[in-house]
Symmetry: C2
Subunit: 224 residues, 2 copies
Protein backbone atom coordinates (compact mmCIF):
# COMPACT_ATOMS: atom_id res chain seq x y z
CA UNK A 1 0.00 0.00 0.00
CA UNK A 2 3.07 2.24 0.50
CA UNK A 3 6.26 1.98 -1.53
CA UNK A 4 9.19 4.35 -1.02
CA UNK A 5 11.99 4.35 -3.61
CA UNK A 6 15.40 5.96 -2.92
CA UNK A 7 13.82 8.89 -1.14
CA UNK A 8 16.05 11.89 -0.46
CA UNK A 9 15.16 15.15 1.29
CA UNK A 10 17.50 18.09 1.72
CA UNK A 11 16.39 21.23 3.52
CA UNK A 12 17.90 24.52 2.37
CA UNK A 13 18.54 27.41 4.75
CA UNK A 14 19.92 30.12 2.52
CA UNK A 15 23.04 28.48 1.10
CA UNK A 16 23.31 25.87 3.86
CA UNK A 17 22.17 22.36 2.89
CA UNK A 18 20.72 20.14 5.62
CA UNK A 19 20.34 16.53 4.42
CA UNK A 20 17.48 14.92 6.34
CA UNK A 21 16.89 11.76 4.22
CA UNK A 22 19.77 10.31 2.21
CA UNK A 23 18.17 7.49 0.19
CA UNK A 24 15.40 5.50 1.91
CA UNK A 25 13.62 2.54 0.28
CA UNK A 26 11.04 0.09 1.64
CA UNK A 27 7.61 -1.41 0.95
CA UNK A 28 4.65 -1.70 3.30
CA UNK A 29 1.85 -4.19 2.64
CA UNK A 30 -1.80 -3.60 3.51
CA UNK A 31 -2.56 -4.36 7.15
CA UNK A 32 1.00 -4.19 8.46
CA UNK A 33 1.77 -2.59 11.88
CA UNK A 34 5.15 -0.89 11.60
CA UNK A 35 7.22 1.15 14.08
CA UNK A 36 9.75 3.67 12.82
CA UNK A 37 12.44 4.37 15.39
CA UNK A 38 15.75 6.23 15.59
CA UNK A 39 17.62 9.02 17.38
CA UNK A 40 16.23 12.55 17.67
CA UNK A 41 16.91 14.37 14.38
CA UNK A 42 17.48 11.26 12.23
CA UNK A 43 14.66 12.03 9.74
CA UNK A 44 11.54 10.21 11.06
CA UNK A 45 9.10 13.15 10.88
CA UNK A 46 10.54 14.19 7.50
CA UNK A 47 9.85 10.68 6.17
CA UNK A 48 6.33 10.64 7.62
CA UNK A 49 5.44 14.00 6.10
CA UNK A 50 6.59 12.87 2.65
CA UNK A 51 4.71 9.53 2.75
CA UNK A 52 1.62 11.35 4.05
CA UNK A 53 1.80 13.75 1.04
CA UNK A 54 2.34 16.75 3.29
CA UNK A 55 5.75 17.53 1.78
CA UNK A 56 7.64 16.65 -1.40
CA UNK A 57 10.99 14.80 -1.51
CA UNK A 58 14.07 16.36 -3.14
CA UNK A 59 14.35 13.15 -5.21
CA UNK A 60 12.99 9.59 -5.23
CA UNK A 61 9.41 8.30 -5.42
CA UNK A 62 6.47 7.57 -3.17
CA UNK A 63 3.82 5.12 -4.44
CA UNK A 64 0.48 4.87 -2.65
CA UNK A 65 -1.62 1.89 -3.77
CA UNK A 66 0.94 1.53 -6.59
CA UNK A 67 0.30 5.03 -7.96
CA UNK A 68 3.27 7.46 -8.01
CA UNK A 69 2.27 10.49 -5.94
CA UNK A 70 4.06 12.73 -8.50
CA UNK A 71 1.39 11.85 -11.04
CA UNK A 72 -1.53 12.85 -8.82
CA UNK A 73 -3.23 16.21 -9.26
CA UNK A 74 -3.97 18.47 -6.31
CA UNK A 75 -7.54 17.20 -5.87
CA UNK A 76 -6.42 13.59 -5.65
CA UNK A 77 -3.67 14.52 -3.20
CA UNK A 78 -6.15 16.41 -1.00
CA UNK A 79 -8.43 13.37 -1.17
CA UNK A 80 -5.63 11.08 0.01
CA UNK A 81 -4.63 13.43 2.80
CA UNK A 82 -8.20 13.77 4.02
CA UNK A 83 -9.84 10.41 3.50
CA UNK A 84 -7.30 7.69 2.96
CA UNK A 85 -4.59 8.67 5.44
CA UNK A 86 -5.17 9.59 9.10
CA UNK A 87 -2.21 11.70 10.28
CA UNK A 88 -1.26 12.40 13.90
CA UNK A 89 1.37 15.16 14.03
CA UNK A 90 4.19 15.20 16.58
CA UNK A 91 3.08 18.75 17.43
CA UNK A 92 -0.66 17.83 17.30
CA UNK A 93 -1.51 20.79 14.97
CA UNK A 94 -4.97 21.40 16.42
CA UNK A 95 -6.72 24.62 15.37
CA UNK A 96 -6.54 26.88 18.45
CA UNK A 97 -9.89 28.63 17.94
CA UNK A 98 -11.93 25.43 17.61
CA UNK A 99 -13.07 23.26 20.48
CA UNK A 100 -11.94 19.63 20.79
CA UNK A 101 -15.14 18.33 19.13
CA UNK A 102 -14.88 20.91 16.33
CA UNK A 103 -11.26 19.91 15.70
CA UNK A 104 -12.29 16.24 15.37
CA UNK A 105 -15.15 17.26 13.01
CA UNK A 106 -12.81 19.09 10.63
CA UNK A 107 -11.97 16.11 8.34
CA UNK A 108 -15.69 15.26 8.23
CA UNK A 109 -16.51 18.76 6.99
CA UNK A 110 -14.00 18.33 4.13
CA UNK A 111 -15.58 14.96 3.33
CA UNK A 112 -19.02 16.57 3.06
CA UNK A 113 -20.61 14.82 6.07
CA UNK A 114 -23.75 16.57 7.42
CA UNK A 115 -23.88 18.40 10.75
CA UNK A 116 -25.75 15.79 12.85
CA UNK A 117 -23.65 12.85 11.63
CA UNK A 118 -20.44 14.86 12.08
CA UNK A 119 -21.21 15.86 15.65
CA UNK A 120 -22.17 12.31 16.59
CA UNK A 121 -19.05 10.76 15.02
CA UNK A 122 -16.76 13.36 16.64
CA UNK A 123 -18.29 12.81 20.09
CA UNK A 124 -17.98 9.04 19.68
CA UNK A 125 -14.27 9.39 18.81
CA UNK A 126 -13.60 11.67 21.80
CA UNK A 127 -15.21 8.97 23.93
CA UNK A 128 -12.88 6.34 22.44
CA UNK A 129 -9.83 8.41 23.57
CA UNK A 130 -11.34 9.15 27.01
CA UNK A 131 -12.16 12.82 26.51
CA UNK A 132 -15.99 13.00 26.47
CA UNK A 133 -15.87 15.54 29.31
CA UNK A 134 -13.48 17.86 27.46
CA UNK A 135 -15.42 18.16 24.16
CA UNK A 136 -15.96 21.92 24.44
CA UNK A 137 -12.43 22.81 25.59
CA UNK A 138 -10.18 24.59 23.12
CA UNK A 139 -6.54 23.39 22.83
CA UNK A 140 -5.29 26.04 25.30
CA UNK A 141 -7.81 24.67 27.80
CA UNK A 142 -6.50 21.12 27.52
CA UNK A 143 -3.50 19.38 29.06
CA UNK A 144 -0.65 18.24 26.77
CA UNK A 145 -1.74 14.62 26.76
CA UNK A 146 -5.40 15.61 26.25
CA UNK A 147 -4.44 17.67 23.15
CA UNK A 148 -2.49 14.69 21.85
CA UNK A 149 -5.53 12.46 22.24
CA UNK A 150 -7.77 14.95 20.41
CA UNK A 151 -5.25 14.81 17.53
CA UNK A 152 -5.49 11.00 17.57
CA UNK A 153 -9.31 11.15 17.54
CA UNK A 154 -9.24 13.60 14.61
CA UNK A 155 -7.01 11.26 12.56
CA UNK A 156 -9.68 8.53 12.81
CA UNK A 157 -12.60 10.71 11.68
CA UNK A 158 -12.93 9.46 8.09
CA UNK A 159 -12.13 5.81 8.81
CA UNK A 160 -8.80 5.99 6.90
CA UNK A 161 -7.21 2.79 5.56
CA UNK A 162 -3.74 4.01 6.64
CA UNK A 163 -2.88 5.67 9.95
CA UNK A 164 0.41 7.50 10.35
CA UNK A 165 1.14 8.65 13.91
CA UNK A 166 4.28 10.62 14.80
CA UNK A 167 5.14 9.88 18.47
CA UNK A 168 1.47 9.56 19.58
CA UNK A 169 2.20 8.73 23.23
CA UNK A 170 5.05 11.16 24.11
CA UNK A 171 2.83 13.20 26.44
CA UNK A 172 0.81 10.34 27.92
CA UNK A 173 1.17 8.48 31.21
CA UNK A 174 1.55 4.71 30.95
CA UNK A 175 -2.18 4.00 31.44
CA UNK A 176 -3.35 6.53 28.81
CA UNK A 177 -0.53 5.36 26.54
CA UNK A 178 -1.67 1.74 26.93
CA UNK A 179 -5.23 2.75 25.99
CA UNK A 180 -3.90 4.26 22.76
CA UNK A 181 -1.76 1.22 21.99
CA UNK A 182 -4.82 -1.01 22.49
CA UNK A 183 -6.82 1.28 20.20
CA UNK A 184 -4.16 1.02 17.51
CA UNK A 185 -4.08 -2.76 17.91
CA UNK A 186 -7.85 -2.95 17.49
CA UNK A 187 -7.71 -0.77 14.35
CA UNK A 188 -4.93 -2.95 12.94
CA UNK A 189 -6.88 -6.12 13.67
CA UNK A 190 -9.67 -4.53 11.62
CA UNK A 191 -7.27 -4.29 8.64
CA UNK A 192 -6.00 -0.71 8.96
CA UNK A 193 -2.31 -0.26 8.09
CA UNK A 194 -0.39 1.46 10.90
CA UNK A 195 2.88 3.37 10.60
CA UNK A 196 3.92 4.70 14.02
CA UNK A 197 7.02 6.76 14.78
CA UNK A 198 7.87 6.09 18.40
CA UNK A 199 10.57 6.19 21.07
CA UNK A 200 8.29 4.05 23.25
CA UNK A 201 9.41 0.43 23.46
CA UNK A 202 5.86 -0.60 24.47
CA UNK A 203 4.55 0.46 21.07
CA UNK A 204 7.48 -1.13 19.27
CA UNK A 205 6.71 -4.39 21.10
CA UNK A 206 3.18 -4.38 19.65
CA UNK A 207 4.32 -3.77 16.08
CA UNK A 208 5.28 -6.59 13.74
CA UNK A 209 8.13 -4.80 12.00
CA UNK A 210 10.63 -2.13 13.12
CA UNK A 211 12.38 0.19 10.66
CA UNK A 212 15.32 1.95 12.36
CA UNK A 213 16.67 5.16 10.85
CA UNK A 214 20.00 6.86 11.57
CA UNK A 215 21.28 10.07 9.95
CA UNK A 216 18.68 9.87 7.16
CA UNK A 217 19.37 6.23 6.21
CA UNK A 218 17.77 2.90 7.12
CA UNK A 219 19.94 1.15 9.72
CA UNK A 220 17.74 -1.95 9.91
CA UNK A 221 14.32 -3.20 8.78
CA UNK A 222 13.29 -6.26 10.71
CA UNK A 223 10.11 -8.27 11.03
CA UNK A 224 9.49 -9.35 14.66
CA UNK B 1 13.15 26.19 49.10
CA UNK B 2 9.57 25.56 47.87
CA UNK B 3 6.55 25.25 50.13
CA UNK B 4 3.03 24.76 48.80
CA UNK B 5 0.08 25.17 51.21
CA UNK B 6 -3.42 23.89 50.36
CA UNK B 7 -3.10 25.03 46.75
CA UNK B 8 -6.30 25.08 44.71
CA UNK B 9 -6.77 26.06 41.05
CA UNK B 10 -10.08 26.20 39.25
CA UNK B 11 -10.27 27.20 35.58
CA UNK B 12 -13.41 29.01 34.46
CA UNK B 13 -14.82 28.61 30.94
CA UNK B 14 -17.80 30.93 30.92
CA UNK B 15 -19.96 29.51 33.71
CA UNK B 16 -18.31 26.08 33.67
CA UNK B 17 -15.85 25.41 36.50
CA UNK B 18 -12.93 23.04 35.83
CA UNK B 19 -11.14 22.13 39.06
CA UNK B 20 -7.51 21.32 38.23
CA UNK B 21 -5.95 21.38 41.73
CA UNK B 22 -8.11 20.59 44.76
CA UNK B 23 -5.82 21.23 47.74
CA UNK B 24 -2.13 20.33 47.32
CA UNK B 25 0.45 20.74 50.11
CA UNK B 26 4.14 19.72 50.29
CA UNK B 27 7.61 21.07 51.06
CA UNK B 28 10.76 20.75 48.98
CA UNK B 29 14.19 21.23 50.56
CA UNK B 30 17.17 22.72 48.75
CA UNK B 31 19.00 20.19 46.59
CA UNK B 32 16.18 17.62 46.35
CA UNK B 33 15.51 15.75 43.07
CA UNK B 34 11.76 15.21 42.81
CA UNK B 35 9.56 13.60 40.16
CA UNK B 36 5.91 14.59 39.82
CA UNK B 37 3.84 11.86 38.14
CA UNK B 38 0.20 11.12 37.45
CA UNK B 39 -2.35 10.50 34.70
CA UNK B 40 -2.82 12.86 31.75
CA UNK B 41 -5.01 15.77 32.94
CA UNK B 42 -4.44 15.31 36.68
CA UNK B 43 -2.98 18.80 37.26
CA UNK B 44 0.84 18.44 36.94
CA UNK B 45 1.44 21.33 34.49
CA UNK B 46 -1.03 23.52 36.42
CA UNK B 47 0.96 22.88 39.62
CA UNK B 48 4.28 23.57 37.87
CA UNK B 49 3.08 26.87 36.42
CA UNK B 50 1.89 28.07 39.83
CA UNK B 51 5.13 27.12 41.65
CA UNK B 52 7.13 28.70 38.81
CA UNK B 53 5.17 31.98 39.29
CA UNK B 54 3.74 31.77 35.78
CA UNK B 55 0.14 31.58 37.03
CA UNK B 56 -1.72 32.38 40.25
CA UNK B 57 -3.68 29.83 42.32
CA UNK B 58 -7.40 30.29 43.05
CA UNK B 59 -6.53 29.85 46.75
CA UNK B 60 -3.65 28.62 48.92
CA UNK B 61 -0.05 29.80 49.17
CA UNK B 62 3.30 29.28 47.48
CA UNK B 63 6.44 30.14 49.46
CA UNK B 64 9.79 30.40 47.68
CA UNK B 65 12.77 30.60 50.03
CA UNK B 66 10.16 31.09 52.79
CA UNK B 67 8.71 34.24 51.20
CA UNK B 68 5.01 34.12 50.20
CA UNK B 69 4.82 34.80 46.47
CA UNK B 70 1.66 36.89 47.07
CA UNK B 71 3.79 39.48 48.87
CA UNK B 72 6.24 39.91 46.01
CA UNK B 73 5.94 42.81 43.59
CA UNK B 74 6.10 42.35 39.84
CA UNK B 75 9.83 43.12 39.63
CA UNK B 76 10.70 40.49 42.23
CA UNK B 77 8.45 37.96 40.48
CA UNK B 78 10.12 38.65 37.12
CA UNK B 79 13.50 38.27 38.82
CA UNK B 80 12.50 34.86 40.21
CA UNK B 81 11.13 33.72 36.87
CA UNK B 82 14.24 34.79 35.02
CA UNK B 83 17.16 34.16 37.35
CA UNK B 84 16.21 31.82 40.15
CA UNK B 85 14.00 29.32 38.34
CA UNK B 86 14.86 27.59 35.04
CA UNK B 87 11.57 26.47 33.45
CA UNK B 88 11.22 23.88 30.66
CA UNK B 89 7.68 24.00 29.23
CA UNK B 90 5.83 20.89 28.06
CA UNK B 91 5.23 22.74 24.79
CA UNK B 92 8.81 24.15 24.68
CA UNK B 93 7.59 27.76 24.08
CA UNK B 94 10.53 28.76 21.91
CA UNK B 95 10.22 32.06 20.03
CA UNK B 96 9.65 31.06 16.37
CA UNK B 97 11.52 33.98 14.80
CA UNK B 98 14.71 33.50 16.80
CA UNK B 99 17.38 30.89 16.05
CA UNK B 100 18.27 28.20 18.59
CA UNK B 101 21.23 30.18 19.96
CA UNK B 102 19.14 33.39 20.15
CA UNK B 103 16.43 31.52 22.07
CA UNK B 104 19.01 30.29 24.60
CA UNK B 105 20.41 33.85 24.91
CA UNK B 106 17.01 35.32 25.80
CA UNK B 107 17.24 34.90 29.62
CA UNK B 108 20.79 36.33 29.47
CA UNK B 109 19.51 39.48 27.73
CA UNK B 110 16.96 39.99 30.54
CA UNK B 111 19.77 39.50 33.07
CA UNK B 112 21.84 42.23 31.40
CA UNK B 113 24.67 39.97 30.18
CA UNK B 114 26.78 41.51 27.37
CA UNK B 115 26.74 40.25 23.78
CA UNK B 116 30.06 38.34 23.73
CA UNK B 117 29.44 36.58 27.05
CA UNK B 118 25.85 35.77 26.04
CA UNK B 119 26.80 34.23 22.73
CA UNK B 120 29.54 32.14 24.32
CA UNK B 121 27.31 30.88 27.15
CA UNK B 122 24.45 30.03 24.75
CA UNK B 123 26.77 28.10 22.41
CA UNK B 124 28.26 26.22 25.34
CA UNK B 125 24.76 25.19 26.53
CA UNK B 126 23.75 24.04 23.03
CA UNK B 127 26.90 21.91 23.08
CA UNK B 128 25.87 20.39 26.42
CA UNK B 129 22.54 19.22 24.88
CA UNK B 130 24.22 17.99 21.67
CA UNK B 131 23.01 20.70 19.29
CA UNK B 132 26.15 22.68 18.36
CA UNK B 133 25.44 22.04 14.66
CA UNK B 134 21.88 23.40 14.86
CA UNK B 135 22.65 26.78 16.52
CA UNK B 136 21.33 28.86 13.61
CA UNK B 137 18.17 26.83 12.98
CA UNK B 138 14.87 28.40 13.95
CA UNK B 139 12.32 26.17 15.76
CA UNK B 140 10.51 25.30 12.50
CA UNK B 141 13.85 24.05 11.17
CA UNK B 142 14.41 21.69 14.10
CA UNK B 143 13.04 18.24 14.90
CA UNK B 144 10.70 17.83 17.88
CA UNK B 145 13.37 16.43 20.15
CA UNK B 146 15.86 19.08 19.03
CA UNK B 147 13.38 21.86 19.95
CA UNK B 148 12.89 20.21 23.33
CA UNK B 149 16.63 20.23 23.94
CA UNK B 150 16.91 23.92 22.99
CA UNK B 151 14.22 24.61 25.63
CA UNK B 152 16.29 22.64 28.18
CA UNK B 153 19.44 24.60 27.26
CA UNK B 154 17.54 27.90 27.61
CA UNK B 155 16.36 26.99 31.13
CA UNK B 156 20.00 26.64 32.25
CA UNK B 157 21.16 30.01 30.89
CA UNK B 158 21.25 31.98 34.17
CA UNK B 159 22.50 29.14 36.35
CA UNK B 160 19.20 28.92 38.26
CA UNK B 161 19.11 27.38 41.75
CA UNK B 162 15.81 25.59 40.93
CA UNK B 163 15.00 23.77 37.67
CA UNK B 164 11.41 22.88 36.87
CA UNK B 165 11.01 20.69 33.77
CA UNK B 166 7.59 19.60 32.47
CA UNK B 167 8.03 16.26 30.65
CA UNK B 168 11.54 17.11 29.30
CA UNK B 169 12.13 13.79 27.51
CA UNK B 170 8.73 13.09 25.86
CA UNK B 171 10.12 13.65 22.36
CA UNK B 172 13.55 12.10 22.86
CA UNK B 173 14.87 8.66 21.95
CA UNK B 174 16.32 6.62 24.81
CA UNK B 175 19.94 7.72 24.15
CA UNK B 176 19.13 11.46 23.97
CA UNK B 177 16.81 11.02 26.96
CA UNK B 178 19.62 9.37 28.93
CA UNK B 179 21.95 12.30 28.12
CA UNK B 180 19.36 14.69 29.60
CA UNK B 181 18.86 12.54 32.71
CA UNK B 182 22.65 12.49 33.23
CA UNK B 183 22.73 16.27 32.77
CA UNK B 184 20.00 16.70 35.40
CA UNK B 185 21.85 14.35 37.75
CA UNK B 186 25.05 16.37 37.36
CA UNK B 187 23.20 19.64 38.04
CA UNK B 188 21.58 18.10 41.11
CA UNK B 189 24.93 16.83 42.37
CA UNK B 190 26.06 20.46 42.08
CA UNK B 191 23.28 21.48 44.50
CA UNK B 192 20.53 22.55 42.08
CA UNK B 193 17.00 21.60 43.18
CA UNK B 194 15.15 19.64 40.47
CA UNK B 195 11.38 19.28 40.07
CA UNK B 196 10.60 17.14 37.02
CA UNK B 197 7.15 16.22 35.74
CA UNK B 198 7.54 12.95 33.91
CA UNK B 199 5.80 9.85 32.57
CA UNK B 200 9.26 8.30 32.05
CA UNK B 201 10.11 5.67 34.65
CA UNK B 202 13.84 6.16 33.89
CA UNK B 203 13.67 9.71 35.21
CA UNK B 204 11.59 8.67 38.19
CA UNK B 205 14.23 6.03 39.00
CA UNK B 206 16.89 8.77 39.24
CA UNK B 207 14.84 11.00 41.51
CA UNK B 208 14.90 10.62 45.28
CA UNK B 209 11.23 11.39 45.87
CA UNK B 210 8.06 10.84 43.82
CA UNK B 211 4.90 12.94 44.29
CA UNK B 212 1.94 11.27 42.54
CA UNK B 213 -1.11 13.37 41.66
CA UNK B 214 -4.60 12.16 40.72
CA UNK B 215 -7.58 14.39 39.91
CA UNK B 216 -5.90 17.48 41.40
CA UNK B 217 -4.92 15.84 44.73
CA UNK B 218 -1.75 14.18 46.05
CA UNK B 219 -2.16 10.41 45.93
CA UNK B 220 1.25 9.68 47.46
CA UNK B 221 4.50 11.45 48.36
CA UNK B 222 7.29 8.98 48.90
CA UNK B 223 11.03 9.22 49.37
CA UNK B 224 12.86 6.43 47.48
N1 LIG C 1 -7.13 27.06 30.56
C1 LIG C 1 -7.86 26.00 30.96
N2 LIG C 1 -9.20 26.08 30.97
C2 LIG C 1 -9.95 25.01 31.34
N3 LIG C 1 -9.45 23.81 31.72
C3 LIG C 1 -8.12 23.69 31.72
C4 LIG C 1 -7.24 24.75 31.34
N4 LIG C 1 -5.96 24.31 31.43
C5 LIG C 1 -6.04 23.04 31.86
N5 LIG C 1 -7.33 22.66 32.03
C6 LIG C 1 -7.81 21.37 32.55
O1 LIG C 1 -7.21 21.20 33.83
C7 LIG C 1 -6.80 19.83 33.99
C8 LIG C 1 -5.31 19.80 34.37
O2 LIG C 1 -4.52 20.21 33.30
P1 LIG C 1 -2.95 20.05 33.35
O3 LIG C 1 -2.39 20.65 32.09
O4 LIG C 1 -2.39 20.59 34.61
O5 LIG C 1 -2.76 18.46 33.33
P2 LIG C 1 -1.45 17.56 33.27
O6 LIG C 1 -1.41 16.75 34.51
O7 LIG C 1 -0.26 18.41 32.99
O8 LIG C 1 -1.71 16.59 32.04
P3 LIG C 1 -0.70 16.02 30.88
O9 LIG C 1 0.10 14.90 31.54
O10 LIG C 1 -1.66 15.50 29.84
O11 LIG C 1 0.15 17.11 30.38
C9 LIG C 1 -7.08 19.11 32.67
O12 LIG C 1 -8.18 18.25 32.80
C10 LIG C 1 -7.39 20.20 31.67
O13 LIG C 1 -8.43 19.85 30.77
N1 LIG D 1 12.70 23.07 7.79
C1 LIG D 1 13.92 22.59 8.08
N2 LIG D 1 15.01 23.28 7.73
C2 LIG D 1 16.25 22.82 8.03
N3 LIG D 1 16.50 21.69 8.69
C3 LIG D 1 15.42 20.95 9.07
C4 LIG D 1 14.09 21.36 8.80
N4 LIG D 1 13.23 20.43 9.33
C5 LIG D 1 14.01 19.49 9.89
N5 LIG D 1 15.32 19.80 9.74
C6 LIG D 1 16.48 18.98 10.17
O1 LIG D 1 16.33 17.72 9.53
C7 LIG D 1 16.68 16.66 10.46
C8 LIG D 1 15.53 15.67 10.53
O2 LIG D 1 14.43 16.25 11.16
P1 LIG D 1 13.17 15.36 11.60
O3 LIG D 1 12.15 16.28 12.17
O4 LIG D 1 12.73 14.49 10.47
O5 LIG D 1 13.79 14.44 12.74
P2 LIG D 1 13.11 13.35 13.69
O6 LIG D 1 13.75 12.04 13.43
O7 LIG D 1 11.63 13.42 13.57
O8 LIG D 1 13.53 13.81 15.16
P3 LIG D 1 12.71 13.81 16.56
O9 LIG D 1 12.72 12.39 17.06
O10 LIG D 1 13.54 14.71 17.44
O11 LIG D 1 11.35 14.33 16.34
C9 LIG D 1 16.98 17.33 11.81
O12 LIG D 1 18.36 17.31 12.06
C10 LIG D 1 16.49 18.76 11.67
O13 LIG D 1 17.33 19.70 12.29
MG1 LIG E 1 10.07 14.04 14.81
MG1 LIG F 1 1.02 18.62 31.36
Amino acid sequence: VVEVDNLKKTYYMGKVEVPALCGVSFMIEKGEFISIMGPSGCGKSTLMHIIGCLDRPTSGHVLLDEVDVDELDDNSLADIRNKKVGFVFQTFNLLPKLSAVENVELPLIYAGVGFEARRQRAKELLGVVGLSDRANHRPSELSGGQSQRVAIARSLANNPSLIMADEPTGNLDSKSGEDIINLFNELNNGGITMIIVTHDQDIADHSKRIIRLKDGLILSDQKR
